[in-house]
């Protein structure tokens, strides 16, 4: 009996020791697990710290980016305003350009129309030629008049001679012949003066005619230049 008890007690003791050992192993295992857990917690804490630092850095960056975005938004708004202003200016410039092109076209047309003045100058030219022909005609008539006057002078001289030959009977005739000679001399003077006037008239008529003709060419050439410039300007605007 005693041995049985002892055996039981021994068995119990062995079982207890085994159980203790098992528990001890479990405790040890748990202690190791706990250590591992602590290490993992420490690692995770460290990782968490790093992540937190990263998050903080990211937040700073996000804040900086937000500031930049805000600045860019403001700049974009400014640019939009400038673009809008430029668009308005462009529209008004385009309108002005079209207006200029239209006016350049009008100037070119007007210059082309005014070049028709050449016809007016031609008309003056013809009239001046006609005037010069009349002057020539007057010269011819004046020469004829001078010829007649010279003839009259000769006739009056002959009459005076004949009157002198007739003596007392020819006295009255001599007075008439003398009067005729005096009239012929005055006619001759008048004819010379008239001839000089005609020469003066020739010069002033010619000078005036040429001034009109040359002035007309000057105006026509200037209008051609204006027309060419206006057309060039119009083409550049289109």
């Amino acid at each position: 009996m005693g041995s049985i008890v002892l055996a039981v007690m021994t068995g119990g003791l062995v079982a207890g020791v085994l159980m203790w050992l098992i528990r001890q192993r479990k405790v040890n295992a748990m202690a190791r697990t706990l250590g591992d857990a602590d290490r993992r917690i420490a690692d995770l804490s460290a990782d968490l710290g790093r992540q937190a630092a990263r998050v903080e850095t990211g937040m700073h960056e996000v804040a900086a980016l937000e500031t930049t975005v805000a600045q860019m938004r403001d700049a974009a708004a400014d640019h939009l305003e400038v673009i809008e202003q430029l668009r308005t200016e462009l529209q008004s410039a385009t309108a002005a350009k079209e207006q200029w092109a239209s006016r350049a076209g009008q100037i070119a047309e007007e210059a082309a129309r005014l070049r028709g003045l050449a016809l007016t100058f031609e008309r003056w030219h013809e009239q001046m030629i006609s005037l010069m022909e009349q002057n020539h005609d007057m010269h011819a008539k004046n020469q004829e008049l001078q010829s007649i006057v010279r003839h009259v002078v000769i006739v009056s001289l002959n009459a005076s001679i004949e009157a002198a030959r007739a003596g007392t009977a020819g006295r009255g005739f001599a007075v008439v012949a003398s009067e005729v000679r005096a009239l012929a001399a005055r006619s001759e003077e008048l004819s010379k003066s008239y001839r000089n006037s005609l020469h003066l008239n020739d010069l002033t008529t010619t000078a005036t005619f040429q001034d009109i003709q040359a002035g007309g060419k000057m105006i026509t050439a200037s209008l051609s230049s204006v027309e060419a410039l206006a057309s060039q300007f119009q083409h550049q605007l289109h």
């Binding site: 000089n196 010069l203 005619f209």
Partner: protein
């Protein structure tokens, strides 16, 4: 009023035009002297041409001596043209040369066609109230004689300096009219 610079320029321009356009060959001698009064030449006619600008007009009066030497020189041999035609052409060329030089200074110019008047008209040039009159006697090859008068009437003060080069130019182009 035509200032001395302008008067000097007109003179230089005329002398160049006379040297280059009144002579038919480049080797021909051309003597140009100032003449107080023209009128020692034979012939009844005078040729007048006008250059007009906004501020002035210039009259070029040419008298060609009606001598055999002058006739033969300007009509040339075998050309078949008359002395009258030759005078008009030479006068036109000479005035065209003046016009060409003046265009360097005055952009707006026009030139008339030549017109023949009696030489007895010339004493009345003063009636045009010119601001500048210069008379020249041109002698080519010692025998050919042409009298020229440059008469400028200005309606505003005239002052310019023409840059007249002395280089001999090639044969002139006909001034179209």
């Amino acid at each position: 009023m035509i200032r001395s610079n302008a008067q000097d320029s007109f003179e230089r321009i005329f002398r160049k035009a006379a040297r280059t356009r009144l002579t038919r060959q480049p080797e021909d001698t051309c003597h140009i002297s100032t003449a107080a009064e023209a009128g020692t030449l034979n012939g009844e006619d005078a040729l007048i041409l006008t250059i007009s600008s906004i501020a002035f007009r210039l009259l070029l009066v040419l008298r060609f001596d009606d001598s055999d030497a002058t006739r033969a020189y300007f009509t040339g041999e075998g050309t078949g043209r008359s002395f009258e035609e030759a005078r008009l052409e030479i006068g036109n060329l000479c005035c065209g040369a003046l016009n060409q030089e003046l265009l360097q200074v005055f952009p707006d110019l026009g030139m008339s066609t030549p017109y023949v008047v009696s030489a007895r008209c010339l004493p009345y040039l003063h009636v045009l109230k010119p601001g500048y009159v210069a008379a020249y006697a041109v002698t080519i090859n010692d025998t050919v004689r042409v009298d020229a008068t440059v008469c400028v009437c200005a309606h505003a003060p005239l002052d310019f300096v023409a840059d007249v080069s002395d280089g001999v130019e090639s044969g002139g182009e006909l001034e179209l009219f």
